[in-house]
Amino acid sequence: MITVNTEYHSHFKEITGLAGDSFELDEPLVSELAAKITEKYGAKMKALLIDPRTNDLNANGTMYVDSKGKRIFIDDTLEDGETIAFLVGIAGG
């Protein structure tokens, strides 16, 4: 069992109504974290977080990074105490 913290920014913050969360995971897997987040925040979060075509984290218009600034993917593993930031990923304008 590990604990992973989350930070929610912009659209993620709007959906959760929170700046962050903490989750206990049985397995140190991003897939488990994603499942817990979508279970907690429902369909809208699922549509934002999961790409139904690939079942990976939705990569278009979003960005998820660990505390070192490295992007995470659904099959990655997580360290105990890690903080993952959920961000809007867009450029230009």
Binding site: S10, N58, A59, G61, K68, G89, G92
Partner: protein, 654 residues
């Protein structure tokens, strides 16, 4: 596919229409591709080394085949010319309704040459095209110009839509832009100065025709799938609310802003977040072009309660700032109140001036004053009076903006072409080398984002055909660390790995070709970024392109078309003398370690040369000189271009 090109010679007043035949689309796709081809042809009979502000320069407006077709993929028009601020290839995109109204009038391309003896505007009303005195518009900003033309020309046979310059363009400020319907600026490369030098204040268009579509059922089918794909992504709804401002939090988190002339890479203060904008300033969302399934545009109207500075701007209304407007104000200039950031966006649009080069000109001066390299007297000599240069002080910033827009003092004159030429001129004037503080990439163009941790992004800054810019090669695989895309493109994750140079130059080359296609289709880039299927514009959008034009190019052919378009832009720059040594970036990015954020300590020099080598290799260009080879050009059916380059001594030897 056929199209009408309107040619206007402002010197003689001659106006004529030409057909652009199907065979031109077969080779140049449309939109920016055809603009480039028109400009290339022009400079076969005019001196390519002309002063860009002289009558010999050409100004081309063009709109691609998907724009306004009902495909829902957004609309972008494009202007193309020789850049007066960077002295090289110049182009710039802009959205809104003007581009497809040009199509509805029966034209898709407009080529302006010569110089009118006095200020005029061009009125296109379906097939009636005429030049009119614009003395009553001269001196007006883009908003006033638009409103006067709309009022005077009325709503029949359609509402009037405009492309106009403000005071910056009239004064031939090198970094002046051209504004579509008073709202959306074609900011980059100085198109406004070109129109100003030609005494053309505006183009007003009224069109009531339609658009010919080869296979309407094909585009309707494509468009349905496209809409469903966008609808399925909740991130699109976030984007509707925040537009590119959504990037503010991500950039703050990883350290990708451009704070105080990039002395840092995070905003200071708590105020500038997209959340604050949405809560306090957002009034309503809208679509910029009526042919867009996203609708990311939004308006604000300040009532004075939103923030401390809002009291100064009660009643002001404009578009929500885009990220780079925010990056230039809250980043480069350290403005910390949203009302002031929004006001910066509005005044730069109304004056018609590029806020990237403008902010970096101002932040350059603020930084050398901050370091005590110039005295109060030196500053007074620049302005003709004492002038405070306080970071984030909007009154100071506006005074500096006006100096440049109106060319009213030595500072304005030195920096009218942006920070690179400005810093060079000022260093020479003062007998001191200040270039360390000038922030720029290729051509001297500046860009207000932190670049040092991002080798592909940095490569974009060094090689973009229109001068430092992200919208030619768009290094998203790397900045967003998309190892899934890296896998698809290259069969491995390296292009998404910030720690290695592998596939960084290759990413630039491939994405430049794809972006050239999108720009030639005339669509908005945001759909491409937000739609998982959009990443291969040659196949996915290619289907829509084929339905509309009947140009039956498969994905492979379209990628070659994109590559051909990039090669013509490159050839233009080679003709004006650009070589490998011009594909570079400023001293701070190259050598000064990234000071903060998630990737501290990075400098461009870590990977710059291997990435540049790889870029040339993937392009099939000569690595030593950076020049194109005959073999590559002939492979792209550009043997005639190779002949021109050879005659100019601008083709790689051997």
């Amino acid at each position: 596919m056929e199209s009408n090109l309107l040619r206007v010679d402002l010197t003689t007043g001659e106006i004529k229409s030409e057909i652009i035949g199907h065979e031109v689309f077969e080779k140049w796709v449309g939109g920016s591709g055809i603009n480039n081809w028109i400009m290339w042809q022009h400079f076969l009979t005019h001196d390519i080394n002309c002063d860009p502000r002289s009558p010999d320069n050409i100004f081309v407006f063009g709109v691609g085949p998907l724009a306004g077709s009902g495909a829902g993929s957004g609309v972008k028009g494009r202007i193309t010319f020789k850049s007066p601020c960077y002295d090289m290839f110049g182009d710039s995109a802009g959205g809104g309704k003007f581009p497809y109204m040009v199509r509805f009038s029966g034209y898709e391309y407009i080529a302006i040459t010569g110089k009118a003896p006095k200020p005029v505007y061009l009125h296109i009303c379906n097939d009636e095209v005429s030049l009119h005195d614009a003395s009553h518009l001269w001196g007006k900003d883009t908003k006033e110009t638009h409103e006067i033309l709309q009022r005077d020309l009325g709503d029949y046979p359609s509402k009037t839509h405009t492309l106009s310059i403000g005071q910056a363009g009239e004064n031939q400020v090198g970094i002046a832009g051209v504004v579509s319907d008073a709202l959306r600026i074609h900011a980059r490369c100085g198109g406004g100065a070109v129109l100003g030098s030609k005494n053309l204040k505006a183009i007003a268009v009224q069109g009531s025709g339609g658009i010919k579509i080869k296979r309407p059922e094909g585009i309707m089918k494509w468009s349905d799938v496209f809409r469903q794909s966008l609808d399925a992504n909740e991130a699109v709804y976030g984007f509707k609310r925040r537009g590119t401002l959504g990037a503010v939090e991500m950039y703050q988190h990883i350290g990708s802003h451009f704070w105080r002339n990039n002395q840092g890479n995070k905003f200071r203060g708590e105020g500038i977040t997209s959340d604050n904008w949405v809560k306090r300033f957002h009034k309503y969302s809208e679509v910029c072009s009526s042919d867009c399934f996203i609708a990311c545009d939004a308006k604000y109207k300040i009532d004075g309660t939103e923030s401390e500075a809002a009291k100064k701007y009660v009643g002001e209304t404009f578009r929500r700032p885009e990220y780079l407007t925010t990056g230039s104000a809250a980043g480069a200039l350290d403005v910390r109140d949203w009302a002031e950031v929004a006001h910066w966006g509005k005044i730069t649009n109304d004056y018609g001036i590029d806020n990237q080069d403008l902010s970096c000109s101002i932040s350059f001066l603020m930084e050398i004053k901050q370091h005590g390299l110039i005295s109060d007297d030196d500053v007074a000599n620049l302005f003709g009076h004492s002038q405070s240069l306080e970071w984030g002080n909007m009154d100071d910033i506006e005074a500096l903006v006006e100096s440049i827009v109106y060319q009213s003092n030595p500072f304005g004159k030195l920096f009218g072409d942006g920070p690179y030429k400005g810093a060079l001129r000022y260093s020479e004037m003062m007998g001191q080398n200040f270039m360390k503080y000038a922030m720029y990439g290729k051509g001297g163009a500046s860009f207000t984002e932190e670049m040092r941790p991002f080798p592909t992004w940095m490569n974009n800054m060094a090689v973009a055909s229109r001068g430092a810019d992200h919208l030619k090669g768009l290094g998203l695989i790397e900045k967003f660390q998309r190892r899934d895309l890296s896998q698809i493109y290259f069969g491995g994750p390296e292009a998404a790995d910030l720690e290695v140079p592998t596939y960084k130059g290759a990413s630039t080359a491939i994405i430049e070709n794809q972006v050239a296609l999108l720009n030639s289709y005339g669509v908005c880039m945001f759909h491409w970024m937000l739609d998982p299927a959009g990443y291969m514009p040659e196949s996915y959008y290619g289907e829509a392109y084929r339905s509309i034009t009947g140009v039956e190019h498969d994905s492979e052919m379209l990628m070659r078309d994109g590559e051909r378009i990039c090669n013509l832009e490159k050839a233009f720059n080679s003709r004006v003398g650009m070589r490998r040594e011009h594909d570079t970036v400023c001293e701070r990015w190259m050598w000064e370690p990234c000071p903060e954020g998630k990737y501290p300590g990075k400098v461009a020099a870590d990977m710059f040369e291997p990435v540049l080598d790889e870029y040339y290799q993937w392009r099939g260009w000569d690595v030593r000189s950076g020049l194109q080879t005959r073999a590559k050009l002939e492979e792209l059916d550009l043997g005639d271009v190779a002949d021109v380059l050879e005659a100019d001594g601008a083709l790689a030897r051997g």
